[in-house]
Subunit: 343 residues, 2 copies
Amino acid sequence: MTRTRRVTIRDVAVRAGVSVATVSRVLGGDYPVLPATRNKVMRAVRELDYVPNAHARALSASLPGAVAIVVNSVAVPYYAYIAQGVEEQAALEGRLSLICTTGGDTGRELAIMQMMREQRAEAVILVGSVIVDEEYRQRMAEYAHSLDAAGSRLVLCGRPPLGEGVPALVVGFDNTGGAYAVTAHLLSAGHRRILYLGLRPGHSTSDSRVAGYRRALADYGVPADPALEVKADFSRESGYAALSRRLAEGPPDFTAIFAGNDLVAAGAIQALREHGLRVPDDISIVGYDDVPPAADLGLTTVHLPHDELGRAAVRLALAREPAGPITLGTHIVVRDSVRPVTP
Amino acid sequence: MTRTRRVTIRDVAVRAGVSVATVSRVLGGDYPVLPATRNKVMRAVRELDYVPNAHARALSASLPGAVAIVVNSVAVPYYAYIAQGVEEQAALEGRLSLICTTGGDTGRELAIMQMMREQRAEAVILVGSVIVDEEYRQRMAEYAHSLDAAGSRLVLCGRPPLGEGVPALVVGFDNTGGAYAVTAHLLSAGHRRILYLGLRPGHSTSDSRVAGYRRALADYGVPADPALEVKADFSRESGYAALSRRLAEGPPDFTAIFAGNDLVAAGAIQALREHGLRVPDDISIVGYDDVPPAADLGLTTVHLPHDELGRAAVRLALAREPAGPITLGTHIVVRDSVRPVTP
């Protein structure tokens, strides 16, 4: 049987009467090119139906070669930055990538997984904090097995491993280590009454941060006080509401706040302002994630290599060989939201 | 020929021994449900291979019923919020949605469009500022015609219409009106030397904002000064760099800044701080978009209904009837970044 030779970038250059470098510049889109030149090149691309090499694999009948990342919402920077990393790495590896959002809806997640399995996506990356219960483990195990059967791979990002025998890869952040470090940062500044704002019992991400907070308190010989662990979802609104309620009950019985993430911290800072409390003069505060608006708030926080997590997930999935869980380190970013306690 | 009856939510409820309300609560995922109950329901879902109604359409062989949105990057709030609106509306209309990012790479855009055409996505929504030249018009016209031929629809978001005969729908913001209003806001406060930071000749979005800026100046009888229109990409880094260069040349020859978007404004505010200039005491500044960190910076800006743009794009695409361009209005959000000029 005969196979038509694939059109190359050289064919396009010849047809357009320009250099190969010019063609790749035009397709790359990141250099200024004269419109007339762009016209010639894009016309040649269309006439020859040229498929840029890096994307050829993704253009077969279905989606093999495509990498899908599934998140709750792209309007949350934490997810958006991880997705960004996935797409950068996918592009480097010659894959197209798709972002799907569930809005936290299990039905939508199920529909997305079924579609990706039918489309034989090369890898499906699930991101985000979850309630780890038996139903969750069952659901994930079934996703993993059915994707595996379809020649696709499941990668869990920022989620606990599913255990032996389940064909799922795992990459995550060292949340306990980061939480330990930032709590120790407050303790070293003399703080002893540190409010943890963002308790979400059962949620994997928050739980691992609370664990680091408690461990640091223990290592500094500070008794953990359940009254200092306050529930809040990982949203700005929730952080604002939870701290506003707390401050309405009376003057703060804490000198510092460890917010579950930067959005919670932003909401908390707004609540502090409205109660006439200054940061850091009256109350010190730290966040987690190092996403906007952390820098603009001068917030000391824990930096997470979001894009690197996304890239690692893609590299792991495409390596096509078994690998144990990968945990990426974190580090504190010190800004202006913490002041030492003067006894 | 026989057709097997579709499994309904009622069947799942019966199998799981719970109410229909409980099943939809479990699948909805937005109410707390006992793990044991979730287990029963999800097991029934799996055993019956139940496909939540809202997603049934998206689960046929290919992607018909899926809505794709194509943006440069989801790490940019402007895009993320529009994508969010697309997905909310798509879910409401029983479609799955996919986000694809190009990284501004024409080759990736081409590959994505080819994939979506092959997969017969129901609608493809292209978002973002572009250089409108002949090559662009040709490329878009071909996307529009080939998607149309495949029974899919092309929607351009925040981009100019392609003209008669091209089967593309258009939704956008009234950028000229918003820029006029926020410039008039500065002029009413007595400012006459207003720096426009974010000139990008040929870029549709920036051009429409500059047009509103110039028109407002004209209506207030203030001669436009080309020296006050400064180039900057729509990024924080670019805004910071461009204003830093300007301030390094000497003391500001302006009393107010109109930043092309909020990210540029954030970078500009950082540059002002580093030059010992206070906002708004020394320099007033306004932004555009009303996305983070606008609120945290107390930035007066132009609010864009991002999510509504995304929803409108989906409604328009699924209406399956021709419609003229839709333009969504904008409004100013007044915060604390503008102070009246005292002569």
